[in-house]
Amino acid sequence: MADTGLLESLLRLLEKVDGGTDSQDVAADLGVDHQVIVGAVKSLQALGEVISAEQKSSKHWELTGEGREIAEQGSHEARVFNAIPDEGLPQNQLMKMPSGKVGFSKAMSNKWIRLDKAHEGGPRVFKTVETIEDAVRDKLQLVQKGQSAKLEDKEKNELKKRKLLSEVTVKSYWITKGSSFSTTITKQETELTPEMIASGSWKEKKFKPYNFEAMGVAPDCGHLHPLMKVRTQFRQIFLEMGFTEMPTNNFIESSFWNFDSLFQPQQHPARDQHDTFFISDPALAQQFPQDYLERVKKVHSEGGYGSQGYKYDWKIEEAQKNLLRTHTTAVSARMLYKLAQQEKFTPVKYFSIDRVFRNETLDATHLAEFHQIEGVVADYGLTLGNLMGILHQFFTKLGITKLRFKPAYNPYTEPSMEVFSYHEGLKKWVEVGNSGVFRPEMLLPMGLPEGVSVIAWGLSLERPTMIKYGINNIRELVGHKVNLQMVYDSPICRLDS
């Protein structure tokens, strides 16, 4: 910081003027270098509203080093002229003078001197006039006094060409009194201290202003994973809609519950080794509800419940094969079977969000495991219109209101509908989920009453999360290759905004 004496001098000067002053004038008035005043202005600005200073730039003429020399000692030609005595001077001697060369030719062209080349003892220089007027020096002295305005532009440019003058740009400040102007300086405090609060001294102190442009210090905290944040929201939506959470904590499932109970035939491509992870240890499931298993076998191989069946040789060995469940619908099947064992049917709404597994080809948007979101409603007399209505409510909570439905095929639902929503960004309809009404061949063997319909829908958790958080490669989101910085930086999840 500039010394307090200077600062106060500056402030006293400012006190006397109306409307403000230029820092260059202050420098001239106080007789100090302009840069010192610039430093003082910055120090005063840091004190808060004592002064206000606006930077401006101005051009002015200044003498060069040579220019200053001339202003002091006279121009080269004048110096040459003055060096010549009445009896003249040998030219070679004159040329040895510091100003000799330049001064000689200028003095010659001014016709102040003449050269006698034929003089005995070599060429000799003589004055031609008695007195001279050193105009160059006079002009430079004007500039030096700050009166360059008295010179014509042509003259200044002439001197600039001779490298005696230069035009310089000066950054200076226009200083005016600030809102808390005072001519005395108080030292600034950086922070409020307990002592200041106790003594009340904070009232008299000035505090150094904060830089509000800088970032704060990151809090030392943990972070929730974005996919799990989205899961929490979906869970919340289901709970808001009155859905009860299903126990999906069983990744290992039998083919029976994963496929057969859903009326998915044993030759179905999904049951292929290429699509499903089978388990070698423990390879087979035991303990099926025997009479239910018989009904499932019958509806597959012979039909019944109004169905033609698939008419093939259904094998228990195939149903026993353990696998990593390919959908959480396996759990829905277990839950619906359990519901059917109740003495009296009660309507239910179920949901789950959990991992499922597919032995598929992996790419930027597909992993071998992902989270399936599933909703199921079982009640008497549910219609396809009801399914669309509930889907509309569900997707509205996700901020999606424009829906339409496309007929589709799924082995365990009929009708089956793909859910499309209008994507404002892409300007087209995109698939956002799948839905349908469970087939009677699935429900009736479980023992559910004839008039009960079960509607259901599903979608993946990863896709809406990737869209929400703008992630293109699923590996950056799920699994150990996650980018932790992304986890740290991810905002809270509000699906409807």
Binding site: L224, G242, E245, S254, I279, Q393, P411
Partner: protein, 590 residues
């Protein structure tokens, strides 16, 4: 979902109407199809093999249309056009008829010998008479067989189709099975004869056929069909003989389908003949063929069975959520190729299911077709009145609450895979795989999917390894399921919800992890103490550094471990800094 590729202009010509791409896309959407891609052979070639190869290829516009997996009747241009025309009420669904040979002659006969029983026991057959092929029709006929092979025929495992120029062969035909060395013929598009054994090695390198070899490769007898002169028609499910191959000029076609699943064979045959009998002199008629089983039983094919279902208008209305008269529902169904009439008894509707609609096996399938014809998007959306009270699964509720507080305690949540390699859960953790109680996957494509994880620790350590550039310390946690073998469960395994956290820094930070345990116990309202509380006591665990591991007990029961990881564990996960960890079972706190 199968994709059918059709030439746009040909499609529009057959539909008798031009559409813009958007209009056709809309029509598909309404009908349950999807216009997946608009392209050309040139574009496909250029994309797959580069511009050079595409030079000179056709730039005729192709529509790639996704067809529902159960609609085999839509797997070619002819089927799509017929379905859409009937849907748009521009055409009445044709009636398919099985006829006897025109001149009162004997039908073609296919004899099945008992040798086929062990390998491919079923066969069905039919004849298309006086068919007129054009280049396009011929290509579509070949393409349909391929689509059927890939779908209903399950890559030829269930059914294989053979089509033959009947005028080059003479019945009766024999379907038998023979040792591969005894079968010898000139296969399709080859110039010389091979034995079946030679063919199997010849096709090992065939990009198309090699996928079917496994179906019979290890059988002692291979299926084969001969004509009465010993000419080989085909060696299903691999290849046909060259002798009887069909061409553009073929007039009469003998079609045989051999199968391991008779139902699917009948469906396949019905599809081929219904879709292409359109081009017979007498359209939509198919000449019958006799199939004689080893036991002498005689069947006539194709079945071309029409079935009638009776259901009420009320049933449709109630299931769909509409209110239409029985007449109008009958009309809707007729548009879906299900010819329907009001029976006159109340609001009962008689629905005839044609042989092309093998997918209709229950009244709910009929109900869906009524809804499609009505238009899914014309159905009024309504909220079900189902009243229920929501419940959280207690285990998930506990996990959700703990997650929030672990993050508040300064740990960041990781989300790692439930599947991993054996090495991850055994060698890398200095454990023996047999003591892990791990569930093993029989068909992993890579080592990443060998087992279900038995611990959350490997996933967390791998997450750190992938984020070594991040500033230290790294504090991570995960609350999720591991899978353990459990003989008391029907599937022999169960999930176990665990909490795992790691601290990775220049110093091991055991006190940090220990502090986290104290905090978790505080959150679970378990006080420090030996009996009713929790305590830790020194333990040996090969994953941890000797003398730096403790077992955690809550209410006298062991719930997990904490400690400083063994340096070998750290380096096996490609880490360089000391690391401490905690791993506990949270199910006892339910």
């Amino acid at each position: 979902m199968p994709t059918v590729s059709v030439k746009r202009d040909l499609l529009f010509e057959a539909l008798g109407q031009k559409y813009t791409d958007e209009e056709f896309d809309e029509l598909c959407f309404e009908f349950g199809l999807e216009l997946d891609e608009i392209t050309s052979e040139k574009e496909i070639l250029s994309r797959e093999q580069g511009d050079e190869k595409a030079e000179g290829a056709s730039d005729v516009v192709l529509y790639k249309i996704d067809v529902p997996a159960n609609r085999y009747d839509l797997l070619c241009l002819e089927g799509l056009v017929r379905g859409l025309q009937v849907f748009k009420e521009k055409l009445e669904a044709p009636r398919y008829r099985r006829v006897s040979p025109a001149d009162g002659g004997e039908p073609q006969r296919l004899l099945i010998t008992e040798e086929t029983a062990s390998v491919r026991p079923h066969a069905v057959a039919a004849v298309l008479r006086n068919i007129s092929f054009t280049q396009e029709r011929y290509e579509s006929f070949i393409e349909l067989q391929e689509k059927l092979h890939q779908n209903v025929c399950r890559k030829r495992t269930l059914v294989a189709i053979g089509t033959h120029d009947l005028d080059t062969i003479s019945g009766p035909f024999t379907y038998t099975a023979k040792p591969p060395g005894e079968i010898r013929f000139k296969p399709l598009n080859q110039s010389k004869e091979y034995t079946a054994a030679e063919l199997m090695s010849l096709y090992k390198t065939d990009s198309h056929l090699r996928h079917y070899l496994h179906i019979i490769e290890n059988e002692p007898l291979y299926p084969v069909i001969y004509d009465s002169n010993g000419v080989v028609l085909s060696m299903p499910p691999i290849i046909n003989g060259d002798h009887s191959k069909i061409s553009l000029k073929t007039k009469n076609i003998f079609i045989e389908c051999t199968a391991t699943d008779l139902t699917k064979a009948k469906i396949t045959l019905d599809m081929v003949v219904t879709l292409f009998s359109e081009y017979c002199n007498e359209p939509f008629t198919v000449e019958e063929a006799e199939v004689v089983y080893p036991d002498g039983k005689l069947c006539l094919y194709p079945e071309l069975a029409y079935r009638t279902e009776t259901l009420s208008g009320d049933f449709i209305n109630k299931r769909v959520g509409i209110n239409e008269s029985a007449e109008s529902i009958a009309q809707l169904l007729t548009r879906m190729c299900l010819r329907s009439e009001v029976s006159g008894e109340g609001d009962l509707i008689q629905v005839e299911i044609p042989p092309t609609r093998a997918d209709v096996i229950h009244a709910c399938d009929i109900m869906e077709d009524a809804a499609i014809a009505y238009g899914f998007n014309n159905i009024v959306r309504s909220t079900p009145r189902t009243y229920t009270v929501a419940n959280q699964l207690p285990l998930n509720k506990l996990s959700e609450l703990l997650r929030q507080d672990l993050a508040a305690a300064g740990f960041t949540e990781a989300l790692t895979f439930a599947l991993c390699s054996q090495e991850d859960i055994a060698d890398k953790l200095r454990k023996n795989i047999t003591e892990t109680r791990a569930v093993h996957i029989s068909n992993p494509k890579t080592a990443e999917f060998q087992v279900a994880r038995t611990s959350l620790l490997p996933g967390l350590l791998k997450t750190i390894a992938a984020n070594r550039k991040m500033p230290l310390p790294l504090k991570l946690f995960e609350i999720s399921d591991v899978v353990l073998k459990d003989e008391t469960k029907d599937v022999g395994a169960r999930n176990n919800r665990r909490l795992c956290a790691v601290y990775y820094n220049k110093s091991p930070g055991f006190e940090v992890i220990h502090g986290l345990l104290d905090r978790v116990m505080q959150l679970l309202d378990v006080k420090p103490g030996r009996d009713q509380g929790y305590h830790i006591q020194a333990a040996e665990d090969s994953t941890f550094f000797p003398g730096r591991c403790a077992e955690i007990f809550s209410c006298g029961k062991s719930i997990g471990h904490l400690g400083v990881l063994h340096p070998d564990v750290i380096s096996r996960f490609e880490l360089t800094m000391p690391c401490s960890a905690i791993d506990i079972d949270i199910e006892p706190f339910l």
